[in-house]
Amino acid sequence: METTISPPRIRTWLNDFGISAVIAVVVIVAIFWGYVTSPQVTTAVLASTLRQSTPLVLGALCGLMGERSGIINIGIEGQMLLAAFIGFLANVYTGNLLLAVLAGVLTGAIMGALLAFMSVTLKMDQIIAGTVINILAFGLTGYYYQQGLTTQGKLLPISLGPLAEIPLIGPVLFRNPPITFATLILIFVIHYVLFYTRWGLRTRAVGEHPSAADTVGINVYFVRYTNVIIGGAIAGLAGAYLTLEAVGSFERAMTNGRGFVALAVMIFGKWTPLGSWGAALLFGLTTALQTQLQFGGRLAIPHQFIGMLPYVLTIVVLAGFVGRARPPAAIGQPYETE
C-alpha cells in the first residue's frame, strides 16, 4: 500500500552509527598519537578511562534493563550510594571483601525491588519513585554514617598472565581488579541475553507493547520486577566498586551524580549494553583527562570547570541524541491488566 522506497542500507547504517563511527575514529587516532608521543601517560589515561567507566556502564546496564522492560529508573544514584555504604560497612565489620561485595549487590537488589514495588504494583509516577529511592539513600547513608571508620583494605588488580604484557592493551585490559573484569563480562552476557534469548525477547516486548505480551500470556508484572531487581543488583555492584575497588573508603554523597550520568550513557548507547559501553568509555575518558589535566597543570582553567566536564557532556549528549534515539515505546507508563 505504501509507495515508499526504503533508504539504501548504507544510509540507515550511517544514520544510526555515523556519529559514533566518527567519534571512534577520532579517538583511535588520538590514542595512537598519544601512544607515540608519551606511552606511559597514554596507558595511564586509558587504564583510568576503563576504571572510571566501570560504574557508569554498570549504572547504564541497570538503567537499560529496567527501561527495556518499561520502567524508568531515576534512582540509580541512590541505589549505588546505599550499596556503596552497605558494602563499606560490611567490609569494616567482617573484613571479608567478597562478602562486602555481595552485601552491596544485595542492597542494590533490594532497592530495585522497592522501585519495582512502587512503579509496578503501586503504579506511582516512576520519576517520583526513583526520587524517593534517592532521597532515602541520601538520608539513610547520612543518618547512619560515622566518621573514622576504616576499611580492611580494598580489591586489588589481578594480572592475567602474559596477556597483561601486551603493550598498551595489556595493562589496560588485562590488569584490572575483579569487579572491572566482571563488568566487562556482564556487558556481553546481558547483550546476548537481551537480543538472543527468549527472556530478552519477552523483556523487550513488555517494554515496547505490554498488552501484546499480556495477551499471549506473558506476566508483565513478573518480567518488570525481575528486570528491575537484577538491574538493582548491578547498580549495587557499581556501588561496591566505588568503595571496595576504587577508593577503599566511604564519603557522603560519593556517587557524585554518576547515577544520572549513567542514564545519559544509556541513552547515548541506544539502550544497548555494547552501545552503553562505548558511551561509558567516552565519559570515562573525560574524567580521566580531567585528572590528567589537573595534575599536568597545562591549562590555566580553574579546576571547577574541568570538574564540570562530565555533567556538561551529559547535557550535550542528551540534547543531541535523545531526539534521535528511540526508547522502548512503553516506558514510564504503568501497566494495568484489566
Partner: protein, 508 residues
C-alpha cells in the same frame, strides 16, 4: 453442511461481569458449534468486547461458567485459553511494532535451542508454512511497523493458528479493511471453517453479518437479546434488536444547495514524521452548504490531510485557501479565528482536556478572547455562563458544568466538542470520524447537527472510515487511496461496490 448438528466447542452459561458503575455482561448464554461462524452484533458499549475478553481469559467473570470442548474451565489467564485452542485477534492489534512478524508470532511460545537461545530461522519457517497453507501471504522477516494494516490482521491470525487455535475470536476485524479486503477475510474465514476451525466474529456492521455468518447473536446493554440466522433477519430487524427501537438507518436531509467555494486545497503534499509522503498532490474543493465526504480505509493519508488543514502538521508544498484567504502555513489559532471548526478524530487526545471541567473545556479555543478574558485576566463568570448555556442547548448529560470531562460517556464527550465548535461563527467544518465509538442516540444527534450546519451554509468536510456514514451523510464523495484523491463522485453515483474498488486502488 449441517452445522446445526456439529458438536458444541465453546459455551458460556450465565456469564456476568460487573465494572464499577456498569453491568457489562448480564447472564449471557452463548453456544458455538464446530465449524460455524457465529457473529456477535451490538453497538458500542453493549458488552461484546468484555464477553470476548472473558472467553479469552483476560477478564474473569463474576458469575457464570465457561465450557470449552465439553470441559468446564476457570480461565486464569490467556495462557489457559490458548492451551485449550482459543485464539483471539484483537480490534487494536497486539503486535510489537519494532519486532519482526516471526518474533511477534512466536512471542510467548518461542522456538528455542539450548539455553533459551532463540531459533529465529525455525520460527520463520513455521510462519511461512502456515502462511502458505491458508493463503495468508505473510513474510516472516518483515518488521511489523512497516506493514500495511490489512497485512497486520493476517499476522494476528497466524499468531493464533501458530498456537494451534481451532476456536478463533475476531474482534471488529473489518474496521480497518476495504470492502474487498473484508471479502478476502471472509474467504479466509470460510477456508478455516472448512478445516474445522470455529469462529466468533464481533462487529457492529449489519451488512457483513448477513454476508458471512451462519448464526447471529445480538447483544444489547450487556444482555443477549436474541439469536437468529441470516435467512431470518434483515438489516432493519437486526438494527432494531441492537438498539431496542426502530432505527432510521439513513440520515434525513433535504437536497444540498451549494454556494461559492469555501475550502480550496491545491496540490497539497504532506509528509509524516518518518518522511513518507502521506498526502500526495491532493486538490479538492468544498462549497458552502454542501458536505464533501472523504471515504477511504484508515491509513491512506486522511489523518495527515486533516492535520494539515487544521494547522497541526506542516505542509511540504501546495496551498490551502478558505474563502480566498490563504492559510497554508497558518497556526491552529489563526485557522480557528478564520472560522474553521474541527471535530478531531481522537477526542481524548486533541479535543478535550480530560482533567478540566466541562466549562473549562468549552472555552478551549476562545479563552483568550473577550468576553471570556479581558487582557490577560480570565472572567470566570462569563466562562461558567457560557458552559451552562451550551450544556443545555446541546443536551449534554452531566450533573454540572464542573464535572470533569473524563467522567462523561463517549457520546457526551463528543457533544461537548460539537457544542464548543458550533458555538462560534463557522464557515468550514472539518469532522474527522465524528461518530466513532459512541452510542446510536449520540450518532443520530451528531449527524443531525452536521446536516444542520450544512443547511446554515457551512461547508463541511467529513472524513470517515465508516463507509455507511459517508454514504448517508455526504452530498459528494471523494475517495482517498495511498495519499491521493482517486475520484470524486456525486452521491447519486456513489455505490458501495464502486467506492469499495476505489478505496482499494482499482480505478472504477
Amino acid at each position: 453442511m449441517t452445522k446445526v448438528d456439529a458438536p458444541i466447542v465453546l459455551e458460556a452459561k450465565g456469564v456476568t461481569k460487573r465494572f464499577p458503575g456498569v453491568l457489562a455482561n448480564d447472564r449471557i448464554d452463548l453456544k458455538l458449534r464446530q465449524g460455524e461462524i457465529l457473529a456477535l452484533l451490538g453497538e458500542n458499549g453493549a458488552g461484546k468486547s468484555t464477553l470476548m475478553n472473558i472467553l479469552y481469559g483476560l477478564y474473569h467473570p463474576d458469575e457464570g461458567e465457561i465450557w470449552i470442548k465439553g470441559e468446564h474451565l476457570q480461565l486464569g489467564s490467556p495462557r489457559d485459553a490458548i492451551a485449550r485452542g482459543v485464539g483471539m485477534v484483537h480490534q487494536h492489534f497486539q503486535l510489537v511494532p519494532v519486532m519482526t512478524v516471526a518474533e511477534n508470532v512466536m512471542l510467548g511460545a518461542e522456538v528455542t535451542r539450548a539455553g533459551g537461545r532463540l531459533d529465529r530461522r525455525e520460527a520463520a519457517r513455521r510462519v511461512r508454512a502456515l502462511s502458505d497453507k491458508y493463503g495468508l501471504r505473510v513474510d516472516p522477516s518483515a518488521v511489523v511497523e512497516d506493514l500495511p494494516v490489512g497485512t497486520l490482521q493476517r499476522v494476528e491470525i497466524i499468531k493464533a493458528l501458530y498456537r494451534h487455535a481451532d476456536i478463533l475470536i475476531l474482534d471488529e476485524p473489518t474496521a480497518v479493511l476495504t470492502p474487498q479486503e473484508a471479502n478476502d477475510l471472509f474467504r479466509i474465514m470460510h477456508d478455516l471453517t472448512e478445516q474445522g476451525v470455529s469462529i466468533i466474529f464481533i462487529t457492529h456492521k449489519l451488512k457483513e453479518v448477513l454476508a458471512v455468518a451462519d448464526r447471529i447473536g445480538v447483544l444489547r446493554g450487556g444482555r443477549m437479546v436474541g439469536t437468529t440466522t441470516p435467512a431470518e433477519a434483515t438489516e432493519a430487524s437486526l438494527a432494531e434488536m441492537m438498539v431496542g427501537r426502530k432505527v432510521i438507518l439513513q440520515v434525513e436531509k433535504s437536497a444540498a444547495h451549494p454556494g461559492r467555494p469555501v475550502l480550496q486545497v491545491e496540490n497539497l503534499t504532506v509528509r509524516d514524521e518518518r518522511n513518507h509522503v502521506m498526502v500526495a498532490d491532493v486538490s479538492l474543493e468544498v462549497r458552502a452548504g454542501e458536505i464533501l465526504g472523504i471515504a477511504g480505509v484508515q491509513g491512506n493519508g486522511q489523518r495527515e490531510l486533516v492535520e494539515a488543514l487544521t494547522g497541526l502538521r506542516p505542509i511540504e508544498s501546495g496551498r490551502i485557501l478558505v474563502e480566498g484567504q490563504e492559510y497554508t502555513s497558518a497556526s491552529p489559532r489563526q485557522i480557528t479565528e478564520m472560522g474553521v471548526a474541527h471535530i478531531p478524530e481522537d477526542r481524548e487526545k486533541h479535543g478535550l482536556v480530560m482533567a478540566y471541567s466541562i466549562a473549562d473545556n468549552m472555552v478551549l479555543n476562545q479563552y483568550y478572547q473577550s468576553p471570556y478574558a479581558s487582557g490577560p485576566v480570565l472572567d470566570q463568570d462569563k466562562i461558567e455562563d457560557h458552559g451552562r448555556l451550551l450544556v443545555k442547548e446541546y443536551d449534554v448529560r452531566t450533573p454540572s458544568i464542573f464535572t470533569l470531562a473524563r467522567n462523561l460517556s463517549g457520546g457526551n464527550k463528543q457533544k461537548v466538542i460539537v457544542a464548543r465548535e458550533f458555538s462560534r461563527p463557522v464557515k468550514l467544518l472539518i469532522a474527522n470520524q465524528p461518530t466513532r465509538g459512541i452510542d446510536v442516540g449520540s450518532i443520530e444527534f451528531v449527524h443531525k447537527q452536521i446536516v444542520a450546519q450544512r443547511d446554515r451554509g457551512v461547508a463541511v468536510l467529513l472524513v470517515s472510515a465508516e463507509l455507511d456514514e459517508v454514504l448517508s451523510v455526504s452530498d459528494r464523495v471523494a475517495v482517498m487511496f495511498d495519499g491521493r484523491i482517486v475520484k470524486t463522485l456525486p452521491i447519486a453515483e456513489a455505490t458501495r461496490e464502486r467506492l469499495g474498488m476505489l478505496m482499494a486502488g482499482s480505478e472504477a
